[in-house]
Subunit: 464 residues, 2 copies
Amino acid sequence: MNIDAAKAALAHLELDDNPASIRSKSRDFFWYSPVLKARLDHVVADFVVSPRDEAEVIEVLKTCYAHDVPVTVRGAGTGNYGQAMPLAGGCVMHLKNMNRIREIAPGRVVAEPGIVIRDLDAQTKAQSGQELRMMPSTAATATLGGFIAGGSGGVGSVRWGALRDLGNIIRLRVVSMEAEPQIHEFTGEELHRVSHAYGTNGIITEIEMPLAPAYDWVSTVLTFPDFAEAARFGAELAAEDGILVKLITVCEAPIAAQYFQRFKGHVSEGDNTLQLMVAPQSMPALETFLARWPAGKMIFRSDAHDWSRDPGVAYEYGWNHTTLRALKVDPDITYLQVRYHGADFLEVIEAVRARFGAELMQHLEVMREHGQVIYAGLTMVRFTTEERLEEIVREHEEMGAMIFNPHRYTLEEGGRQSADARQLAFKREADPKGLLNPGKMIAWDVPDWGYERIYAYAGMRAAE
Amino acid sequence: MNIDAAKAALAHLELDDNPASIRSKSRDFFWYSPVLKARLDHVVADFVVSPRDEAEVIEVLKTCYAHDVPVTVRGAGTGNYGQAMPLAGGCVMHLKNMNRIREIAPGRVVAEPGIVIRDLDAQTKAQSGQELRMMPSTAATATLGGFIAGGSGGVGSVRWGALRDLGNIIRLRVVSMEAEPQIHEFTGEELHRVSHAYGTNGIITEIEMPLAPAYDWVSTVLTFPDFAEAARFGAELAAEDGILVKLITVCEAPIAAQYFQRFKGHVSEGDNTLQLMVAPQSMPALETFLARWPAGKMIFRSDAHDWSRDPGVAYEYGWNHTTLRALKVDPDITYLQVRYHGADFLEVIEAVRARFGAELMQHLEVMREHGQVIYAGLTMVRFTTEERLEEIVREHEEMGAMIFNPHRYTLEEGGRQSADARQLAFKREADPKGLLNPGKMIAWDVPDWGYERIYAYAGMRAAE
């Protein structure tokens, strides 16, 4: 690894070697996890480069390849798993300058990866009345490329499923890290090689995404005294094919009362809440549906309310923004990512609640999975020890709830605990020296890893 | 019934008393059914009036009320159950002149009932890039009001469910038939009073409907050598949340070869076909999905084909247009309306095929029902006798397939064979003399009807 030579060769690009700035750009939202916080807090790159176009991306990759410098790509760094953290140091490639929209068409947009999702949506809405099908709750700062490389779904998944589902990404243009970097255009089955691969096997330089209509979504808050009923309401609302929603979030009491500052005075400690995004034309149908649930109350709708402080958009009370709000109030909160599926998913959720009591607080998000309504859980956990957290994970799995562990920095451990053959095969082709985001793909480092314990990347640079 | 007095009082309106014209405007597509053909072929009104606005509708209703003249409302007459046929004679109220659009907004349109659906969609598309969520396959001639009063779903139901589902109709304005006709505005639960009520309890004069994006849908035809695989493909395609489709029609061999004239030379007698409408931005994903099914072939796509004769839009090979094409070739074909739902719906379909062999040809349409993918069957039947047709219906029901019998002219027999209390209650209020479309609501005529045999309306005017 010849850092100085690489920096010298790249000096004509936008290069950042201010230590404070490098440290900040070497971090993402890994600190959501006390487990990752303990392991990654010291991680820091040697320099940051921000290419302005694909040609500069190629130049960075070619230069770093020549000098054996690891390259970890990042957008806004809103991922929670250390996806964008340079475990072995080296170069952080920041894509903030690559933020152009190339084409807006009915149902489609072509853009560069560094564009902030809210900016993208604002432009597609202004020009065509359209927006992305789905976005993370961090859309105000997150980039499109970061969402595709490091995310899996979010606001909009209630209707469109996950990013990995066919049709939710149309095309990705990708540059490899070789002596002579190659450009690939991926569609169809090939998309899985690089989507949700954390930039371990190529750098995405252009993205074609489907668009959906951009309605003036009404942010709505409902309360239910009983959590199980709130969860049933959310699932049944999602099954109302004629009611167009973009978000159905369910939060167990006392999440809203304790962590949603602007809900104060409007919710009590006993209120379970739903945060919804509803198309304006579906609001009358939502009201009709809600009237069938005598225990449910609509306490807020953004198109007609008398709250003295506007709480803001519902999606910033959903997905990982919910966790973020809790963390701001109570730093001992962490979370799990659970998938409740199968015919009895509501019963499994109730069984989990009964088993753990106040140690957990349920936070559910409706998703579509293969045409079915399911719940993703972003369960809040009152953290005590890593051992106890592991125990909670195991017990969920024993109860039939699948865990995608957010306390791991590798692709495999955060996913299904198995190597992704397509990603690995493409890494062999596109990153022969293994310099792209090292330490994130176990299959590359330790092909026979057994997942009995948390993976510790041997190449991680030690704290100074 | 004082026909002459009513005609005289209404002479300043657009009144039609040409016998040939009256006879033609007293009919709909009831002749799809040999059972209805035998019973309703002679049905004819005394005169036809075509009001130009709501005030004239009110005048017609008030006048006919005063003179005890039955009023049967109609649009284009594309219904198949005699919905728009004046069993007791009297007045046919034709709404063709009430075809204005009042408002187009994001996600919504307000229109009069007599507008032809294709015209409505053309205007909303031109002005706002939007169209109705769903339409009948007869959209080129059918009216919006007729669809709502006499239909239940169709093209678009694969995504949005049925018309009766919450959110698929926003508001209906309705005029009653009393000494002083009243105007009602219905939303929410109240919509069910008059939607799919055949105009038996009020005349719809204004309609507010949700809109969806109007893409340049790609009409696509696939073939599969095996029917069960074609049916499985259709259901699994519908479960791909990221692939935006508006129509998934499955036709058993040899429907396409025998009845779809423009498919000649492109399909064989053994080809089972799927006709699809796919959003352009979802075509790459459809191709990717199809490639997972080695037996499936795409033989036509409207955006790139070399067929010498364009077969036209896919939706005119779906829903009841499929039946229509068969009837044109083989007048002995009739059909059933089946609902295959439940976890084992594909098995039930196979069991039905095994039971009936060549007597039936399966024609399936994907729908959403309470968030689930199900198949509606518009099964083609090689008709022999009414008795045999009844037997086929019974056997379907015994096998777990629900039948909505299209060989009946009453609301109840075409539906769930039970009175609709909301429709009946509103008829008591809005049509105290029972003059609106008489003979179509059994609950009004014979409250304790047992459904053992086909209902025969006692007030039906005899053939001359």
